[in-house]
Amino acid sequence: MTASAGTAQATRAPRALFDKLWDDHVVVERPSGDALLWIDRHFVHEGSFHAFSQLEARGGNVAEPGLTFGVADHYVPTRDRDHVANPEIARMIDDLGTNTARHGIELFGMHDPRQGIVHVVGPEQGLTLPGLTMVCGDSHTSTHGAFGAYAFGIGASEVAHVLMTQTLWQKKPKRMRITIDGTPIAGVGAKDFILSIIATIGADGARGHAVEYAGAAVRALPMAGRMTICNMSIEAGARCGLIAPDETTFRWIEGRPFAPRGALFQQAVESWWRLPSEANAEFDREISLDASRIAPVVTWGTSPEDALPIDAAVPDPAREADEGRATTMRDALDYMGLRAGQKLAEIPIDRVFIGSCTNARIEDLRAAASVLAGRKAKVPGLVSPGSAQVKQQAEEEGLDRIFVEAGLDWVESGCSMCVGMNGDSVPTGERCASTTNRNFRGRQGPGARTHLMSPAMVAAAAVAGRLADVRPMLEGRS
C-alpha cells in the first residue's frame, strides 16, 4: 500500500467549507482517494463498551486521552438515579466509569452537573469548535456541524480505531449545498425546515454527501436551530451536516469551559473566519427551499421522509405509481394504524415526548412552554432536558412549572424516550407526538407509533390531544 505524506495541497479551485475541513486533517492520502484523517474530538458513552472490549482484546492503549470525553446519556435513567433498578444498565454505567478512568478520559458521569446528552453537552462545554473533526459512536454526531466542524457518527470498530490511533480512514464525500432563503412564518422553525428537506430529497437523498446549509433563513437561526438541522442530516442519509461559522457561532462559544480563552480565542476566531465556503466554490448538488413556503410539519409514516404539512391528509398508496413505494406506504400505514385520506390534524395521540439531541435545548423548551403556559395537556408526557445545565436554566426560568402544571413529567437528562434504551418507552400500540429524530418502527419501544415534529408542535398536540397546528395557539402570545 502506498501513500503520499503531508497535508493535501490546496487546489487552485475555490474551496467549500467542507474542503477546508478535510484538507486541514489529512495525515496521508492513498491513491484510491481515501485518507487517514486526524480526529480532534471524540466522545464515548455507555454504548461504547463494545469498542473498549475491542481495545482490551488487542491490548491497545488510548493514544490521546485528552481529546476523548465520556458522557453518560444513552442508558441513564431519567428518574431515581440513586437506585438504578436494571442491573444490566447499572453495569453499563459502571463500565463507562471504569473504562474512562482506566484510560485517563474525562467523564461527565450520571451524577456530574455537566451530564446530559452528548450532542448537547459537547457544545455547551465548549468542546465543540469550528474547524474541528469530531466523532462519536452515535449517528447524530452530525449535530456539531452546526459550528462548522466536520462531525460524523462511527461504529464500534471505528471508535476503537480512534481510541488507539486518534485517526480514521475516510473516503471524501461529495459536497451538497442546501440553501434556505426567505423568512419563515410564525410557528415554523428549524425542525420544520429539516423535515421538509428530508421529505423533498428522501431518507437517502444526501447519501455520500457532506451537506452545507446556507441562505438567509439558516444565517438567521440561533445555534440551537442550526444544531437541530445538522442533527437530522443523518436522517437524509448525509455523512455530515455543516453550517459556516459566523458571529452567532463565536459569541455562543466564547467563555465556555473548554473553549480557548483570551488571545488564543482571538487567534481561533481569525482562523475560523477563513472557514466559510469561498464564492464560486463548486458543489456536486444544489437544492433550494423558500422558508416562507414551509408550514409546520409532522411525519405520518415510519421513515423521516414520510413528512407532510399539518394541514395535509394521510397519503393514499393507491395513488402511488411506484409499486414498491406503494407497498412500503401500505406497510407504514398498517404499522401506524392510519388510513389513507385521514386528516393529519385529526389523528388522536396517547402521549408526548419533549427531549433528545434534536430538540431538548433551552430554546426548544421555551418554545414548548410558550404554547403550554396556562394550558393543560390532554395526554401524559415526558419532558427530558438536553442536559443537567439546560434543566437548571429551565428551572430558573420557571419552565419546569409550566410543564408540570400542564400535566407533563419533568425528569433528568438523557437520550430517554428517543431511543428507549433506559426504560423510558412508548407502550405497544400507543401513539406519541415526539420532538425526536426517528419514527422508525419500534424506535421508541416495540410497537410504538411515533410522529416527529417541532417542540412547539408537540406542545400543541399535547393541548389538543391530537396532532394539531400550533399556529392558532400562538396567537396573542410572544
Binding site: 487517514l36 454504548g47 463494545h50 490511533t165 473516503k171 431518507a203 447519501r207 473553549a259 414498491g324 426517528r438
Partner: protein, 206 residues
C-alpha cells in the same frame, strides 16, 4: 479478519426498503456482550410476534432463507443509528453478503470492518433477483468479489464496491494494523497541528 472472495449459496429475499439499524437489532438487546452471540436478535421485532414466536411467513424464518449467507434488500439498507451491533447480528446469524441498491454510509463501513460485503446492485437487478427468488426460493446465487459479479440462473450482473473496501475484504485486512504502519506520519501531523491550530486542544479548566 477472515478474507472474503466468493460465496455460493442461497439468498434470503428480505425485499424491504429503508431497513434501518433499529430494525436490524432493536436497542434493548445491545446491552449484552458480543461473546454471547447476536444472531438471535437479527430483525427481532419483524421476525417474531409479541410472544417471541417466529412468524412463519417471514423470509428469515423459512428455509432456504433461514440459513442463507446472502441477504437481498431494497434501497437504504442499514440507515439510521450507527450501532455496529446491527452488523454483529447479521454476522452472527451467518450473513456474509448483502445485495441492495443503497446503504446507510455508517452501516456499510461497519459491515466491511466485520468482513461483510455490502454490494451495491442496480435497483433493476435487485428487482430481478427478488423476482427470481420468488419463483425459485432455493435458487443458487453466486457472488464473486474479485470479479464484482453476482450470478443466478443464466444471469450475470455486476455490482459496485469501494475499491479500498474490496481490497480489505479480499485480504481480510484490519484497519488498525494498516494505520499503525503510518505512525511516523501521524506523529508528524500531531506536532504540526499543535503549531498550526494551538486552539484545538480543550482548555484545561476546572
Amino acid at each position: 479478519m477472515k478474507p472474503l472472495t466468493q460465496v455460493l449459496g442461497h439468498a434470503c429475499p428480505l425485499g424491504l426498503a429503508n431497513v434501518d439499524t433499529d430494525q436490524l437489532i432493536p436497542a434493548r438487546f445491545m446491552k449484552r456482550p458480543r461473546s454471547e452471540g447476536y444472531g438471535g436478535f437479527l430483525l427481532h421485532d419483524l421476525r417474531r410476534d409479541a410472544a417471541g414466536a417466529d412468524k412463519p411467513d417471514f423470509p428469515l424464518n423459512r428455509e432456504p432463507g433461514r440459513s442463507a449467507p446472502i441477504l437481498v434488500a431494497r434501497r437504504n439498507f442499514g440507515s439510521g443509528s450507527s450501532r455496529e451491533a446491527a452488523v454483529y447480528a447479521l454476522a452472527d446469524h451467518g450473513i456474509r453478503i448483502i445485495l441492495a441498491p443503497t446503504y446507510g454510509d455508517i452501516f456499510a463501513s461497519n459491515a466491511v470492518k466485520n468482513g461483510l460485503l455490502p454490494a451495491v446492485l442496480d435497483e433493476a437487478d435487485v428487482e430481478d433477483l427478488l423476482a427470481a427468488l420468488a419463483a425459485t426460493s432455493d435458487l443458487a446465487v453466486g457472488v464473486d468479489l474479485e470479479a464484482q459479479r453476482v450470478a443466478w440462473g443464466n444471469r450475470y450482473v455486476a455490482f459496485t464496491i469501494d475499491p479500498v473496501w474490496r481490497e480489505q475484504l479480499l485480504n481480510g485486512w484490519d484497519d488498525i494494523d494498516v494505520t499503525r504502519s503510518f505512525s511516523i506520519e501521524i506523529a508528524r501531523f500531531r506536532a504540526t497541528t499543535e503549531l498550526r491550530r494551538p486552539w484545538m486542544k480543550p482548555t484545561a479548566f476546572r
